[in-house]
Symmetry: C2
Amino acid sequence: MKRLLALSALVLLTAPLAAQDVPPPVTPASIIAAAPEGDWKAIDPADLMVMTLAPDASGAPRVVTIQLIPPPFSAGWVANVRTLAKAHWWDGTSVYRVVDNWVTQWGDGEDDEAKAKPLPPGMLEVPESEYTLSGPTREVCSGSQCVRAPGIVDAIPAEVALDPYAPNVAFSRGWPLGFADGFSRSWPLHCYATVGVARDLSPNTGTGAELYAVIGQAPRQLDRNIAIVGRVIEGIEHLSALPRGKAEMGVYGEGQARVPILSVRLGNELQAPEQPKFEYLGTDSESFARYAQVSANRNDPFYRVAAGGIDVCNLKVPVRRVTGE
Amino acid sequence: MKRLLALSALVLLTAPLAAQDVPPPVTPASIIAAAPEGDWKAIDPADLMVMTLAPDASGAPRVVTIQLIPPPFSAGWVANVRTLAKAHWWDGTSVYRVVDNWVTQWGDGEDDEAKAKPLPPGMLEVPESEYTLSGPTREVCSGSQCVRAPGIVDAIPAEVALDPYAPNVAFSRGWPLGFADGFSRSWPLHCYATVGVARDLSPNTGTGAELYAVIGQAPRQLDRNIAIVGRVIEGIEHLSALPRGKAEMGVYGEGQARVPILSVRLGNELQAPEQPKFEYLGTDSESFARYAQVSANRNDPFYRVAAGGIDVCNLKVPVRRVTGE
């Protein structure tokens, strides 16, 4: 068995060293492990959403944790998602569509509009213009201090400079973004595990009641065409490893049981120990810049050629669960 | 239920037209459907490998069809894969490792070298230099006609010009390739469903007995670092939707049953009707060039912004099963 095909510190733990005093190789995992505590930022539990699916066939629990995209990148759809979660609207709905190398989708799943589950009051209708953020007209506020975009750009590692979908890509506050017009317009990107709003034909932008998670190659053509509301940060395997749908459009069909959603709760609605606690590696930190540089230039013993670049969606922002006190 | 989130002709079939005489929108799917027969190239059954897994829990069959990469891109590893298939070596082995957004891996899966299944005679030891193809020293032959690389380059759509991993990317004979040194060096790319050779630390290059398929975001950092032997062209869901492994490195651990491999056969070893018949859309065809152009510039009713570019791994080479006479 060749177990070494993995971008993981485990590779190195299991590899024999020629001498005990050889310094361990520098890898993306070693950079993350060595990041000072100050480089990690807490994710507000109010920005987390915990989706509990029915247990699997063996009775094991299935919990999916989603991080909602924070201001200034969040638009009315995120407000709608919060409204739906607070109303416990998704409880009793299901995962009803799984398309290989594409998306897993959940919500009401009712085709007949007359039978569709009524939405809670207070839902916003959001225009397509909200798919992108116009810098000069939006402000980023932290406490009492507000700055105008492009102050939202944390870092543009040279290693992710080449992108076929956007004039520029960069990170901000833990999220990958596309930029145009001299960084005066920005938008979040569709990467693996991104959560977005299913919709009908344009100009319909969807409500946020039907959501999907990306389970394959980053479908970046959807950027600026569909609303992004967050990303799965734990439990993506409960969505990505589901059987693929066999009916039209990958919807679960005859003989395929939809996966019941028991509950969806905002993190701050849960009490300890259920309340989720996570941190992300600040994308404005030196650790992140080094992580980007090392990820694009692998030179540990597994590699013989360093790529010298990296796709923005392969530079996954490190997120960790906080345990203990 | 919003069913329209898909890059599929089905979207358009289910969308009402404003008037019956409006021409149907041009999509990647419509380009493929309209491609003339002459643009489709038969895949030699000898270049196909059919892996039959044990039926799933409901008793449904699970068959995975792999296309082996053809000359001049195939190296000694593909020869080894053929040797192993002819020896029926994989029969009775298993799928033993599944890592989310990474790979599904199969083969002997025995950790203890003393107990490892002996390899058949005739296996080649292949050097790392074979990861790339050096143009000036290799020839491409078609019948009696041989041309020197870079004659292998079919097309370089402007839409895939920007790539963070290779100075150039292009297609040739139905495969995406990276190029360097003025197209005098080339190598196959790791995209979704690519099949490669698991190995230990460099300079070990693996035999081909332990294989993996990519089941997530294209791990392009592996290009030129691991041997590519082919791609899954049918049945990838039987590998991508498997439960993720819970032991070290994503190997199946306690309480997780490995998936038995009943048989692996080269396509030409099978008789009709089991013999697989597939075609790919020639990457030197006008249809493919148009498919690339439309894929990068979506303007059907689902889209409001065309990206103007596309990742080489999102420009999947169309492959179809040939049915009937």
